[in-house]
Symmetry: C2
Subunit: 343 residues, 2 copies
């Protein structure tokens, strides 16, 4: 008897949040080529609402996505990333891993700190601020250039409800969406902060996200082993900073990280889990943050040469698929002085 194998059903979908007077924006379904988008208030008003009821409404969202791709959707509007908030403009949890351990080792060396060997086997995560997540074209508002403003290009996943004690093997189905991240860091505030042991706070201002969030199946064969096997490019003022591959050198997969962060806690739907700054041990493809580049310069030349970001600088983070098309749209941010209290 010959076995007939059938492919599992694919869940393909691209979503975004239009900036509106509502703090959570309006959920939009976006077509695969990032040209058209349409609101779906009858299905869900916001992405968080969609995530709260994902199993019930995912099919309806996918039907709209198919219509958009076939150009048969009613009254789509033009996709414009400058009108978008982060896919989740605010979230109930933003936890960021440091899954590219080779990056952690380099940044520590840049700070003159040694990395414990356990970091290769025990994932490092921190909780970031999730009350104020930036849209793809929002400015990086910084109080002072002296803080050492840096980008960190990452991949993140959005999760549904997950039980305590979830093993790696049960984690894959909980990954609902993928995004790109600019985990903005204030390098000169971090050493004192980490020395206190309680994690980052002042050193991590608001984080920015790609225009769209996509289902893992949108990546096709590039999504395997709970890792994204594509390059993530970062540009500074139009010049390539790096385009490391997100699939190689990811010491902990997203499922490894899920098992780690559910050891003693449940996770609520809409939790954002980041990979940490993407980094390759093969240095030929450059870096995904300035700190790493400065460290490599120090090792090669005795001192760093690339300055941290200054007001007026522009950062662009993007990921292209095998055909060269942008999968998530670009994070494209200008560094500006922060709007301070009373000013």
């Amino acid at each position: 008897m010959k076995l007939i194998t059938t492919n599992a059903r694919k869940d393909t979908l691209k979503l975004a949040s239009l900036r509106t007077p509502h703090r959570d924006g309006q959920l939009m379904v976006v077509d695969r080529t990032l040209q058209r988008m349409v609101a779906v208030p009858a299905i869900a008003r916001t992405l968080q609402e969609a995530l709260d009821h994902w199993g019930e409404i995912e099919g309806a969202l996918e039907a709209v996505y198919q219509q958009l791709n076939d150009d048969t959707a009613a009254r789509p509007r033009r996709f414009d990333p400058t009108l978008l908030a982060a896919p989740l403009p605010r979230a109930y949890q933003w936890v960021d891993g440091s899954a590219y351990v080779n990056h952690v080792e380099l940044v520590r060396r840049a700070r003159g700190a040694e990395m414990p060997a356990s970091f290769w086997t025990n994932p490092l995560v921190y909780q970031g601020g999730s009350d104020d997540l930036l849209g793809p074209c929002d400015p990086i508002e910084a109080v002072s250039e002296a803080h050492g403003i840096d980008l960190e290009a990452e991949v993140a996943v959005i999760l549904d409800d997950i039980a305590i004690g979830t093993p790696v093997s049960a984690a894959p189905t909980h990954i609902k969406l993928l995004m790109l991240v600019n985990d903005v860091s204030l390098r000169n505030l971090i050493p004192d902060e980490l020395a206190k042991g309680f994690g980052f706070y002042q050193g991590k201002p608001a984080t920015a996200f790609s225009p769209v969030a996509v289902t893992p199946d949108e990546l096709g064969a590039a999504w395997r082993d709970s890792k994204v096997h594509l390059r993530l490019s970062s540009h500074l003022n139009g010049v390539l900073l790096g385009q490391p591959d997100c699939g190689v050198d990811m010491t902990f997969s997203f499922c490894d990280l899920i098992a780690h962060i559910t050891k003693t806690r449940r996770l609520g739907a809409g939790t954002i889990l980041g990979s940490g700054t993407v980094s390759n041990t093969d240095r030929s493809q450059g870096s995904a943050c300035i700190a790493e580049k400065r460290m490599l310069e120090t090792l090669a030349l005795g001192a760093p040469r690339t300055p941290f970001l200054t007001f007026g600088d522009r950062v662009r983070i993007e990921m292209l698929g095998p055909t060269g098309a942008s999968i998530f749209g670009a994070i494209d941010q200008l560094v500006t002085p922060a709007a301070l209290h009373g000013v």
Copy 2:
């Protein structure tokens, strides 16, 4: 000419969230004596919605509160804390300070770690998980008694939108509500976690909150200098663990903490800011966590005698006003084995 002085208008209000199929529950106004409560869907469906529009709707909520206190509200239901979720069942930020520095010093000593002198002048804060906040009577679900399960009794404030760079002097008006907190900690997981520098994650499972949140004016003269000048009592299985005064020995006021956490970031409405475990240098009133009691036992007797929490233990945290009435209702939790994945 004689000056006529008028008292500033007082904002008095008690709020809670009834557990419903909706993840954010239903906003309830509760009377001052914690006997009656009523839903206010025409004003706001959830506490987060109220906080998103606080300035516009606070007056309407206070009018209902007055009716409840006068017993003229239409169809109130009986106040029952077992039906309540946390005032914010999930939040966009939960940041916890360690404002009682004398507690930090003791806990560090208990771990054999020295506290840097800067902790007396530079506040310590960590970001906690806010996707899964426990109601006042929800169980403390723990994976293992070997993790060293502990309570931490604290006070927390709920903030509105706050700009970057907000000074201490401008902070008071941003404190909208107060709550009690049980910042559950897994003491035996914390040393390894803090050694990594990225803050708490596995060591801080879900946090629990008091049945009601109240406006600062509800505390009358006991709210001054952005501190609560009342005792916070913690009981273990009906036996008093401690009742330290929250007003003395609070090294950093809530406004000091607000200035610290807005140094490089905006805060979104609904941010929960905790005081850290309440602790007095005068030890006669006991402790607000077991770790501190164990440290004092070690200093006095050479070894700790009080065990951490075990399954079946009950924790009760409450604050009484000058007349002996409970202000926030009680946190009253049973320690139980966690509901694990696949079980």
